[in-house]
Amino acid sequence: MKETIEKNTIKYQELLRKYINTQDEKALYDLELISKAFIKKNILPEELINLHIQAMENIYPQLMNEYKISMEFLLEATVFYGLALQEVDYLRQEKNVLTAEISVAANMQKTLLGTQKPERNGVDIGVISVPAHQMNGDYHHFTVGSNGTIGIAIADVIGKGIPAALCMSMIKYAIDSYPEATMSPNKVLENLNRVVERNIDSSMFITMCYAHYLPKESKLKLSSAGHEPGYIYRAETGEFEEISTKGIVLGVMPDAEYREYELDIDKDDLIIFLTDGVSECRDGDRFIETEELLEVIRKYIDLPAQELVDNVYQYFEKLQDFQLRDDFTLIVLRKEV
């Protein structure tokens, strides 16, 4: 630090002399280099003023006394800027510590909430889940029952970040305790609702869709707790069909009941589940409408399921003013036989 100041004392004086005489912009450019070197070494602004005072006294030994006193006055005024700068530096360090801690938590969350995508003959599943910040407030989970039933849970906790992520762990462990393969989707939601209602803050809630895909019967059974509607792409007609479901979000009504819906799935049909991060994407000030999302899915409909979801996300990511305001999760399941 001291070295940098000493090294630049003469240089500053020469630049100042040059600038006073010629007002040459080149001097300003060189001055910028000095400032940057000072900032890099965390040298406080009052040191720069000090340099200026010394330089002026050397260039003009006959300086007015009033001028000298005024410079001391200025020096006093800058002291507080120096203190503020030191605080910024401290905050920056503290922020780095926090960021590191959150990234540890995010990794832990990945392990805790991890789920394996089922690889079964006859179904092709693709999933992508991207958090808006470090920690993900979306949750998805797959199970495979002994009869081959594939269970799919997709959920979104209100808000994002750490509180949402913590809440998701609760959901995960509650679900883990259920005999999932035998428990119907509406019963899963009714049980979860009681757990959530008792355990979360009054302003929080969770939306969730819980589905069973029965490969032998070619049926989809599902219940929804206020979750963004899913879709089925019907291969025969080439049309998207909204899976309209009703049901209140988890955590609001203690005795909520959920209806179970049943749908027939044909060969090459594609079942689509998503969270509202997908439908709340923005491109600048413009919202991305569900219709647009479906058109993008249609564009990649012939790809294997995982490539399909990856491509859909990349499509939105490439939009010029794209911003992910909320966690983004998209799951697709295609019946192959």
Binding site: G226, R325, D326
Partner: protein, 110 residues
């Protein structure tokens, strides 16, 4: 984008005129204005959302809190002039069934 909340009090009918976007950053402000009125008990509170074109789930959270608090305090609250996009999320989440909501007139300010 900012949020502004104006309160018009007329005996026990309180009208909150909200304008702007309700999201994670602005929801606390709405909550601060709304909750005391609900908790006071015996109040009729109307929240006018005519000038709210965007609301995310954090906003819903504020109204869920308000609903729970109103049951305890005996206040009643209504949402009015709820715009299309905002109304849709009340519908999806099933909250439109348990919160007293009046959507904006179709073809109006949508």
């Amino acid at each position: 984008m900012n949020l502004s909340v104006k309160i018009n009090e007329d005996s026990n009918l309180k009208v909150l005129e909200v304008s702007g976007e309700i999201d994670a950053y602005t929801a606390p402000e709405l909550k601060e204005s709304l909750m005391p009125l609900i908790k006071e008990g015996g109040n009729q509170v109307e929240v006018d959302l005519e000038d709210v074109q965007y609301m995310d789930s954090t906003g819903l959270g504020v109204f869920v809190s308000a609903l729970k608090a109103s049951k305890e305090s005996g206040s009643h609250f209504t949402l009015r002039n709820v715009q299309g996009r905002v109304y849709r999320i009340f519908e999806i989440t099933g909250l439109s069934e348990i919160i007293d909501i009046k959507a904006a007139i179709r073809g109006g300010n949508e």
